[in-house]
């Protein structure tokens, strides 16, 4: 082991206190220096949350580690994701996709604000949530009013709407799926589908 000059290395960092107390327990100067050089464990002071891998339907249990606690109303920044060793199916293991989950959460191509691309334009522009949602509601209302079919040619009540379609997700929760179902079905949309077919 290469001796390290403890004095030169520590220079008053928080680790100094730890190193000093190690010395008090009888560690040699070199050992204390090595201990002090070890980066503090990066999951110290993180909140742990149980979650499920977002990819395939094996549904491996995962633990999400974050700085900050959402349950206390704090902003929580995810620093690490690993397999849940208590989970009966995966028992802590993850595949190459699951092992890289943190990087999909932190992807540079995550969307962070609503955007609009206007007809003919070659770019997205920011738009407020309110404007985007009002635009959508207006477009739905106008298209539905113009194209809703109350009765078919035989005069039978059919109450369907065929000029708007909705493709639902495949990795949202049941609760989101249910809210989506209620909203979409109540409008009479029939072109309603999800990833199950592909």
């Amino acid at each position: 082991m290469t001796p390290i000059s403890r004095r030169g290395f520590l220079a008053g960092s928080a680790a100094a206190a730890a190193a000093t107390s190690l010395e008090a327990f009888g560690f040699s100067e070199a050992e204390a220096a090595v201990a002090a050089a070890v980066k503090p464990f990066h999951l110290t002071n993180t909140t742990e949350t149980r979650n499920t891998c977002t990819y395939c339907s094996v549904a491996c249990g995962i633990i999400v580690y974050a700085k900050g606690d959402r349950r206390k109303g704090e902003k929580a920044d995810i620093v690490h994701i690993e397999g849940d060793a208590d989970h009966p199916t995966n028992r802590g293991t993850l595949c190459p996709k699951g092992a890289a989950l943190r990087d999909i959460v932190k992807s540079e191509t995550r969307l962070t604000q609503p955007m609009v691309r206007r007809p003919g334009s070659d770019r997205f522009e920011p738009i407020s949530w309110d404007s985007a949602l009002d635009k959508i509601a207006r477009a739905l209302k106008d298209d539905r009013d113009a194209n809703f079919i109350e009765k078919n040619e035989a005069g039978i009540t059919v109450n369907r709407w065929l000029t708007t379609g909705f493709l639902a997700a495949s990795a949202t929760t049941n609760e989101t799926a249910y809210a989506t179902y209620k909203v979409v079905r109540s409008t009479g949309i029939l072109a309603f589908d999800n990833q199950a077919r592909v």
Binding site: Y55, C56, P88, C95, P96, I104, S107, T109, Y178, R197
Partner: protein, 327 residues
């Protein structure tokens, strides 16, 4: 979605609002009612969130006798049943077919064992059939009118195929699958010399559909699109490992690197050699990976006769050595 018991009183001042009095979450779909007394959006989920709490949040991973059922880990629909049709694990008298692999057993008065019985717990063994999703109570070798393309399966070739159907030479594809008029024109003829190779699409273990190309780690592991061909086809077409190739179908084409592999071998089908071209699906023009072509520039617009799932796994292409895309 669990099911919620409501009073049948409607607020007369505001008929759009249901008066929810003294409601209770149901313990299972057996408590559903047809008189309007239950609000329940999805009966198969009944029992998942009861008055005893959120069954889906349970985290007891005990597994008595190592049976593999984990009955106290979250919740399984329907009714927390882990193996459906599990009554069929026993013989006619309710004895397990294989005692070393017992799942349920009739104890003379009720069904007991490692799973929630898929039958009334007190239904006598010979009284009720195990396949209770079916009106017969038995599994169907003959599917009656329930599938559009036949009560028995029959061999049909894909809509694009290197060979005609040997069992029924006049039948093209699945005879009842829906094909839109314009899409017929975009299907290669059976045995077409222009599209002689049988292509299929698939996924790689490092990527998830079109998501993980947004992930730096996965994009490093598999950065670039490729197609896989056999050593024999590569020799025939003058393609070396790592070369650019162009692959095209009657609907479009792509450029990719060639992976020449022994994992794919030509097959001999009725005297004709069939070469397979393998096309992983994962690339596009956004994300952290290199730009590339998704497999669906090639695939045909036709689906399963019952479910309309597209025929991504079997279609015809051609392939040639190439200098790669000109940006």
């Amino acid at each position: 979605m669990n099911g919620y018991l409501v009073s049948e009183v409607v607020d007369p001042a505001n008929p759009s609002r249901m008066t929810l009095q003294q409601g209770k979450q149901l313990s299972g779909f057996g408590e559903y009612r047809d008189d309007g007394g239950v609000v329940g959006g999805c009966w198969v989920y009944s029992g998942s969130f009861t008055e005893a709490g959120n069954m889906m949040a349970r985290r007891d991973n005990s597994d008595p006798d190592g049976a593999g059922m984990y009955l106290n880990w979250t919740f399984a629909w329907p009714a927390n049943r882990r193996i459906i049709y599990n009554r069929a694990s026993c013989d006619l008298d309710g004895k397990p077919w294989d005692a070393s692999r017992k799942l349920l057993e009739w104890d003379g008065a009720k069904w007991t064992g490692y799973d929630v019985p898929d039958i009334s717990p007190t239904a006598k063994p010979r009284d009720v059939g195990p396949f209770i999703l079916n009106a017969e109570g038995v599994g169907r070798l003959f599917a009656r009118q329930l599938l559009r393309d036949g009560p028995f399966p029959s061999h049909y070739e894909p809509f694009e195929s290197p060979v005609a159907n040997l069992v029924a030479p006049k039948v093209r594809g699945n005879p009842v699958a829906r094909v839109f008029e314009d899409d017929w024109k975009q299907l290669a003829d059976i045995g077409s010399a222009d599209f002689p190779y049988a292509a299929t699409t698939y996924r790689l273990t490092e990527h998830f559909h079109y998501w993980t190309k947004n992930n730096h780690v996965n994009s490093v592991l598999q950065p670039e699109s490729f197609v896989e061909i056999s050593v024999e086809l590569a020799e025939e077409k003058g393609i070396a490992k790592g070369d650019w190739v162009r692959v095209w179908s009657k609907r479009g084409g792509l450029f990719a690197k060639a992976v020449v592999t022994k994992r794919i071998k030509p097959m001999l089908c009725d005297g004709r050699i069939v070469h397979v071209v393998g096309v992983p699906i994962h690339w596009g023009f956004v994300g952290a990976a290199r730009k590339g072509f998704p497999a669906n520039v090639l695939t045909p617009f036709v689906g399963d006769a019952n479910m309309e799932t597209p025929e991504f796994k079997a279609f015809m292409v051609n392939i040639e050595a190439s200098t790669g895309p000109v940006a």
